[in-house]
């Protein structure tokens, strides 16, 4: 089909009024890569426009141009028919555009209130007095709308990533934008939080806001999309209107070019042997001990809402915050990790959630980012063997299908999804006995997600105990052999082969609806 943006736009124009914002022939180059190549797209008021595509397809770049973070090299942007130059965040903001970025951009030391109102303080002059009660009302209203249960004076840095993600959305909403661009807003959210956000976005749509949703999740598209654009390698390859959930299969096919396959190996036999990893000291809801066992080759999942206690267990395992009540037996030996460095030496590797704050080294190269936990392989007596390191790096980047221009480029030059692939590769290789993975496929496209899931299974098959803590229930169910649901620090149920189980039962568990008696 013809991919000329103008015909697509014309087609869209027929069934709606004037677009609120329209980009045409947009191009943007970063060094050697052409991130956007002659892109045209129109966003209509009262519609949700989903932008789909693989990692590095240019989705986030488009969002950043609309948000005024980057300026376009070529092409035009019009708002309600008038050509505009966005250029800076403030100008975009004044024109009514709010962007929720994929990387969290909250100030960790400031309160929720200060974060949400940053930049919208009513300033007639720089030393104008801040009216706290007025501010609190606004903040509380938006928090209530998003059903976020935090006080306005809480420090943001201590909140979990999912809450921070919702606060990002709140920060955009509090400005009453006419257009809101969300870049992967559901990546860190669990089912309940996600549906909440869906409801909020639907209301905004009904109120006539223009919404652009950049996402990898078909569920987002199924639930929300009015228009869908699919991008690949910086170009718009398809653009169509959708109606209803029946289209989801068609979208998946268009997106990946292949039918979605369920790659779960059905012939896999549960291994029956003594547990390789045992975590004692946890209790179930009746107060009885509930040990967690992981056998060689097994993947277990911990699933629960924010504050369910999964973080506590992970912190103890990794040595971030040792907990006296939690006892870990690994391969028959008692294990106490006092620090993450100690844990790593024992072959325990950790992939934390929050790529920007806990994962990448923004000022360092792709090579250094990949190898920071692996220097043991590439050094002798503290000296780094550069040639061996470079060769190994190339090999592993290729194996993980990372799209990169030069090994020595700063990692921030990669798209978010490709950064995540580097981090996963780092964690998978560093863990020789135990892997603890938090949201391993956050912000990654479907094809890459499948690759990563396969890589995780392969590591488990090597005899490594894998613990998965993911907010993505579908992914958890698909990946794990045993799922433990957690609620308020207690183990609620154990679901062997959860993929055969009812999703509703799992969700009921983690929101505390299940009676203590019924355990799977």
């Amino acid at each position: 089909m013809s991919l000329d943006p103008h015909t697509t736009l014309a087609r869209a124009n027929r069934n709606a009024a004037l677009p609120f914002l329209e980009v045409s022939r947009l191009s943007k180059r970063f060094g050697a890569t052409l991130a956007l190549d002659d892109v045209g797209m129109a966003f209509f008021p009262g519609k949700i426009h989903c932008v789909l595509g693989e990692n590095g397809a240019g989705k986030s770049t488009l969002g950043k141009i609309i948000g005024g973070i980057h300026s376009n090299d070529a092409g035009t942007i019009t708002i309600e028919g008038h050509e505009v130059t966005l250029g800076t965040v403030n100008r975009a903001r004044r024109l009514g555009i709010a962007v929720v970025f994929q990387e969290l951009s909250l100030a960790p030391d400031l309160s929720v209130r200060a974060n949400l109102l940053l930049g919208v303080e009513p300033h007639t002059h720089p030393f104008a007095r801040l009216r706290r009660t007025w501010e609190n009302e606004r903040v509380l209203a938006v928090l209530k709308r998003l059903k976020v249960d935090v006080g306005p004076e809480n420090g943001v840095g201590r909140l979990c990533v999912a809450t921070q993600q919702l606060l990002e959305v709140a920060k955009a909403l509090i400005r009453h934008p006419r257009m809101i661009v969300l870049d992967e807003p559901t990546a860190m959210l669990n089912d309940a939080e996600k549906h909440n956000l869906y409801a909020v976005l639907s209301t905004l749509r009904a109120e006539g806001a223009t919404i652009a949703l950049i996402t990898h999740h078909l569920e987002d598209v199924e639930t929300l999309a009015d228009h869908v654009s699919i991008m690949r390698d910086g170009r718009v390859v398809d653009c169509f209107a959708v109606s209803g959930a029946s289209d989801s299969k068609m979208i998946a096919e268009k997106l990946s070019g292949v039918r979605p396959v369920h790659s779960r190996d059905s012939a896999k036999q549960p291994v029956r042997e003594a547990p390789f990893l045992r975590i004692d000291g946890l209790l179930d809801r009746a107060g009885k001990p509930a040990p967690l066992d992981v056998r060689r080759g097994e993947i277990i999942g911990l699933y629960g809402v924010v504050g369910c206690g999964a973080q506590h267990i992970v912190d103890a395992l990794v040595g971030l915050r040792p907990a006296s009540e939690i006892h870990v037996t690994l391969d028959g030996c008692r294990r106490v990790s006092a620090t993450p460095a100690q844990a790593r030496r024992a072959g325990i590797s950790y992939l934390p959630t929050g790529r920007a704050s806990n994962g990448i080294f923004p000022t360092r190269s792709i090579r250094e980012n990949l190898n920071v936990s692996l220097l043991g392989h590439y050094s002798r007596g503290g000296l780094i063997l550069r040639r061996r390191e470079a060769a190994g790096t190339r090999f592993h980047l290729a194996a993980s299908a990372v799209k990169y221009a030069d090994l020595e480029d700063d990692i921030v030059h990669l798209s978010g999804g490709n950064q995540q692939k580097v981090l996963v590769a780092r964690a998978l290789r560093a863990g020789t006995r135990m892997l603890i993975l938090e949201d391993p496929t956050a912000g990654i496209d479907i094809e890459a997600k499948r690759q990563i899931q396969e890589a995780i299974r392969a590591r488990a098959a090597d005899g490594i105990a894998v613990i998965l803590v993911s907010s993505d229930l579908l992914e958890t169910i698909e990946l794990v052999d045993t799922l433990y649901t957690l609620y308020a620090g207690k183990v609620v149920s154990q679901f062997p082969s959860p993929q055969l189980r009812d999703r509703a039962a799992i969700v009921a568990d983690v929101i505390g609806q299940q009676s203590p008696a019924g355990a799977g």
Binding site: T339, P340, F361, T363, E368, L375, S379
Partner: protein, 322 residues
Amino acid sequence: MRAPGTLGRVVTALRKRRQDTVLPVLIALIAILAGIIEPRFWTVDNLLNLARQMVPLLVVSVGQAFAVISGGLDLSLAAIISLGGVGGILTMNRFGIASGIGCMLLIGVGTGLLSGSIIAYFRTTPLVVTLGMLSVAQACALILSNGTPIYDVPAPYAELVGFDSIAGLPWSVWIGIATTLGGGFLLRHTVFGRYVYAIGSNASAATKSGVDVPLYTMLVYGLSGLCAAIAAVVLTAWVGSAQPVAAADITLQSVAAVVLGGVALTGGRGSMLQVIYGVTMLSMLSNVMNMIGVSAYYQTLVIGFVIILAVILDRLRRGRYA
């Protein structure tokens, strides 16, 4: 085939260095201009003198660079020089030259490790801890020396380290070169260097990927202390005395030189080459201004402007959002 690989690497290296071309060109320009205004600038004597003047700042800046790249700052360096000098010369007079030098180095490493361990294990900010250490070390130097300079420096020591040359260059210059090369080697080719960058770039990510952040932070300040001690060796020999308040300006000058060279004050980025650029720039400016008779007051003014200008240039070069 080797040739394309080498060529490729050279091209890559040149592309990387594109960031670093402004300062060397500026340095060359100033050197050429200086030669035109004052022909004496290009005499061997003056260049040797310039090299010798550069050494203390260069050595201290190498230490400072490690602290800055790791995301910190070391404000105690000048005080460590004073304490190391006084303690070392006192020891030297009693137990001989070698033990004196050993004592200086030990004092440097010891104070550095002490600050470093407090920063690392109590999770305190380097700024405040090294500021405290500045006072402590300075006070110890004053107490040990009773507040008066110690002129009783063994002659062979002053002769050898301060004035003798080998292969045409003074000993002190060789010490400066060795320290810089050593620093560059540590940064580029060792696990330690890699971790220093990682910690400065994102300490939380470093911790969570299993880097022993407290250990390496401690080592960083041990190293900056060692560099201060090396500067103490050079200075005491050159001046022929141990001053209780030696080179008071050198700490801030080292921060200036490091930043001027282009090392990111926020950590995680920078190289020894940049440190050399920064130090050369500052030292050459004051050398030239001395020769053409600019008063000390105006020299300070000029250097201040140069530092501010360099930071602005650096920002512009890296773009708005880098």
